[in-house]
Amino acid sequence: MDETALIHSAQNGDLDAFNTLILHYQDAVFNTAVRILGDEDMAQDAAQEAFISAFRSITSFRGGSFKAWIMRTVTNACYDELRRQKRRPTTPLEPETSDGEEMDSPKWLADPNMTPAQQSEADELEHAIQHCLDELPTDFRTVVVLADIQGMDYTEVAAASQVPLGTIKSRLARARLRLRECLRGFEELLPSSFRLEGERTL
């Protein structure tokens, strides 16, 4: 895939070229949205809005990392979604049973390659991590999602977040520190190496 040619075609109004770019980035965009928002439905809305917005403003893309540019769009869409959520009645993060209780192992997290026990542990760990991510301020969460979950470098994160590089370093360090403190509350779910290290530092 010649990304530059596709971007150029999309800038000339070629929707098919832009859809090829969407197919390439949609997993990363959705994953980022779901980690920032903590909700799959909201993440889908944000991802779709981000792509629509990206197509409409693709002429403003002046080169550089397209991934960082598209991540900036999805980050803005997530912020919009969070603002919208504040105006609406909140819904629980976990799906509920017919009795109104939260499902421990929701179907939407199921991985058919795992045993039920492994699946349950993975679900709980993922829930624990998502819970700790949700506890972070939105700006910190965005930086840690882009850097540690999406694996973007500092320059890309700065471009996506539209904040200076120094701020990114500071936010990332603070976010990691807070996450570490939060994850201590879920030590039984964490890998053994993490538990031992935690006990040593305590």
């Binding site: 859809n19 969407i22 965009v29 779709q48 197509f55 540690d148 990332l172 570490r180």
Partner: protein
């Protein structure tokens, strides 16, 4: 717990973003400072856990349709011609209405002054439709006119012989005697008013033609848009 500046330094070092000299200086400190090394390990493990999070795949494709992207079908060149002609015809139509209105207003002011003179003096002018009724009413008020001869009564010898019928004949005004002085005034008023109503700078026919042009151009544009969007889909 180390101060935040040191933790930030460790976080940056962990990501390999420190320059060579800073990295060496920090590594020297890490070798001697166990607490600092322990914090670095904590940060490394936290980052490791985040990286182990399963990547969530998109549950569906987010590709855009033309409608979602807000794209409009390409229109033929003739569309812009019809759009231009519609705009020009609309402007011209508005101009004709404006010109005719201005003309009516100016003629109306010009005609009002001469009409007011005789109307004031004759007790029935200066009005449009009720004029006829007023004049008719004036015509039936004949006894007022018959009183005048009574004041300037002619000598008795010139009067006809007094008979019972005679007084009635004298008091009855003849239709000719009453209406004859009024008729020229009515006609002159109607003649004065008629040109004011008929005056129009641009004939109505032109306005009708412009309306037809606007309507047909608009309809053609709609048809072009419809066929273009059908072909596009």
């Amino acid at each position: 717990m180390k101060n935040f500046r040191e933790i930030e330094l460790l976080s940056v070092y962990l990501d390999g973003q420190l320059n060579e000299s800073e990295s060496k200086r920090l590594e020297t400190r890490l070798a001697s400072d166990l607490e600092l090394a322990s914090v670095l390990n904590d940060l490394r493990l936290t980052r490791g856990i985040l990286r182990k999070l399963p990547a969530r795949k998109a549950p569906r494709n987010f590709t855009l349709t033309r409608k979602m992207a807000g794209l409009k079908p390409p229109l033929p060149r003739s569309y812009s011609f019809f759009r231009f002609s519609t705009a020009v015809a609309t402007i011209l139509l508005m101009f004709t209405f404006a010109a005719n209105s201005v003309a009516r207003l100016s003629f109306g002011f010009g005609a009002a002054a001469p009409a007011a003179g005789p109307a004031f003096g004759m007790g029935g002018g200066g009005c449009d439709e009720p004029c006829g009724e007023a004049l008719q009413a004036a015509a039936t008020e004949a006894p007022a006119a018959t009183e005048a001869p009574a004041i300037e009564a002619p000598p008795a010898d010139m009067l006809p012989a007094p008979t019972t019928d005679g007084t009635l004949r004298e008091s009855e005004p003849s239709p000719d005697a009453v209406q004859t002085p009024k008729e020229p005034a009515v006609e002159s008023e109607l003649q004065n008013q008629a040109p004011v109503e008929k005056e129009a700078v641009i004939p109505v026919m032109w306005q009708v033609i412009l309306l037809v042009v606007i309507g047909s151009s608009g309809l053609t544009m709609w048809l072009i848009q419809r066929s273009a969007s059908r072909k596009w889909q």
